[in-house]
Point group: C2
Chain length 390, copies 2
Amino acid sequence: MTNNSPKRVSNGVDTKSKKILAAFKSQGARVETKGRAKLKSKKDFSLWYTPGVGVASLHLAKHPEDARKMSVKKNSVAVISDGSAVLGLGNIGPYGALPVMEGKALIFKEMAGVDAWPIVLDTQDPDEIVRTVKAIAPAFGGINLEDIASPKCFAIEKRLIEELDIPVMHDDQHGTAIVVLAGLMNAAKVVKKDMKKLKVVVSGAGAAGAATAKLLIAAGVRDIVLLDRTGTIYAARPGLNESKAELAALTNPRRVAGGLAEAMVGADAFIGLSGKGVLTAEHIKSMAPKSIVFAMANPEPEILPGEALRAGAAVIATGRSDFPNQINNSLVFPGIFRGALDKEVKKITEATKLRTARALAALVARPTAAKIIPDMLDPRVVKAVARAVH
Amino acid sequence: MTNNSPKRVSNGVDTKSKKILAAFKSQGARVETKGRAKLKSKKDFSLWYTPGVGVASLHLAKHPEDARKMSVKKNSVAVISDGSAVLGLGNIGPYGALPVMEGKALIFKEMAGVDAWPIVLDTQDPDEIVRTVKAIAPAFGGINLEDIASPKCFAIEKRLIEELDIPVMHDDQHGTAIVVLAGLMNAAKVVKKDMKKLKVVVSGAGAAGAATAKLLIAAGVRDIVLLDRTGTIYAARPGLNESKAELAALTNPRRVAGGLAEAMVGADAFIGLSGKGVLTAEHIKSMAPKSIVFAMANPEPEILPGEALRAGAAVIATGRSDFPNQINNSLVFPGIFRGALDKEVKKITEATKLRTARALAALVARPTAAKIIPDMLDPRVVKAVARAVH
């Protein structure tokens, strides 16, 4: 088995981790297939296999558009990763990515009835990724790209959207952006500020950070300072890649230079899409009153919720299931693809993303600091999101 | 949707075909996914998704070999075709292939509990096929190639077997060869002839014909005449491709030249892996007494069973579910992969194929003309085949 240069793999395995690992080992696979057609008699075989299947084959050869009506394409999504940016764990290769893709396939089915299959790629070359996804696309009704490093993820997604006639979405980008926007809409209500006037710091200019900044701008937010490992992004900064140069032109109207400490002074909201422990109590103390802190790095947030509250944050959220206000793209991707499959939508547009965020936010009738986003187990979520896709 | 140059697509759609098509349209997908892990509480999400999944990801990044124990790889097979040789219908492209791949995925699950997912390729280039299959291989426990045209199928399968560490089998070749050998073993018993001494005519030198000839030889059959569209294959015949030149060296010891009429004179067994209506009553009348006729073209056999019997055949078989003696690779592929997955077998060897054929034949304790092969619904089949894989 090839393992594309794993990096940043920790050696510390504590007791809790040992228990989790034991659970995964005893579980084996977390998704399986299930027959939807009966195969109990010779007659069943004659219909669903030979000779009957020949009729369906000849029909689809002439009318490929009917694959969406009479095959797995009707309800299937490939969850695809090359393992180049898995959670906040870095480039840990296809096998490192597999548990995440399989977990998403499980969520797809349990929450939205979507037949998703995990596919991890033994290549990290952008052209090869595009070629491979296009080659396997005919039997799928949608493509959920996942955990692919930036900046290559931008070009890969763009080409696939252009070249395929099924919806393609890099969930790290757009799932995250949508759920962050929904959370920020309600957090602004809680602190009684106008969302469009918030000073927002986005820590992390990777896939999620870039897409979030763009969607916030599309929603009317005007003052966003975006940071990567080097510091704040601004137009004159040397050595920006194409994606970051584009972001520099769209963000940082006050031309804030420096690092996170400089950016956080007077900020209304912090959106963490970076890494464990990036944010300190001092950063939060330097923010404007009634500050909003979304610490969404996975599996370890930028700051732990308790510490953020003690430092004075008014509204806090993470990406995790074991803290309140889980800003997690699981609130978005199942419904997005549910809607896209049902309505045979070919592209997930900017307008759809904005509608989806609003629909999600609206599910919390009276937002409070403890509840800015609907619960992942709220059965209204998938329906509301799916309805917003058209 | 791209549709790779469909050919030989008939325009005649009769009443029976209309009914079958309506059944496929009302059915939609024939396989779906199913969650195997519970996802009902926040705790479930914390374990199977974030943050728990990070532990599994880090572990598999370091120990990719454990993917066979704690992911879909444990029980999954990709059923892959480029649609270049679908059933006996020719090159009808990926969408034409999809109903067959999906039907196989259904059979895999219902008969052997294997989680197979249909994948059809939007490329027919051999190098691209190899690259694509290798790229998506990490999350699969096995690769079932299907309905890929010869001669390219031989090189594609060979490279994938060499370059991957999971079992790869082109079912048109080996599934067919194994089930034919099993059937021939029992048919020889019925007509009280020594199988090794049979004069065998194999009509069709494509994927199935070539592999069948080779496996019969491995089982000790010495007199095989193989025919393609041009006629009998023999060493001196001009213009043989690499695969056929290899077959010419292994077969046709009597150097029979000409067409099917010439080859059939005095033959003990006819094995049809060619096309509809190739065999006539006159051909059968020219065979040796107590002749064996396997007319296995799908969906339309080389000759209809009734006509073959009237012409004097002692034992007849087809590939179809709606006639007796169904010599169909559905008897083989589910058990082969069941056994390979359970025992983590990396290659399906020649010895395994011979053992499998013997195991299958042995399930019919007292073969008769009406029963030379076990029924596809016989629950012993998958177990016996799986047991033979090691």
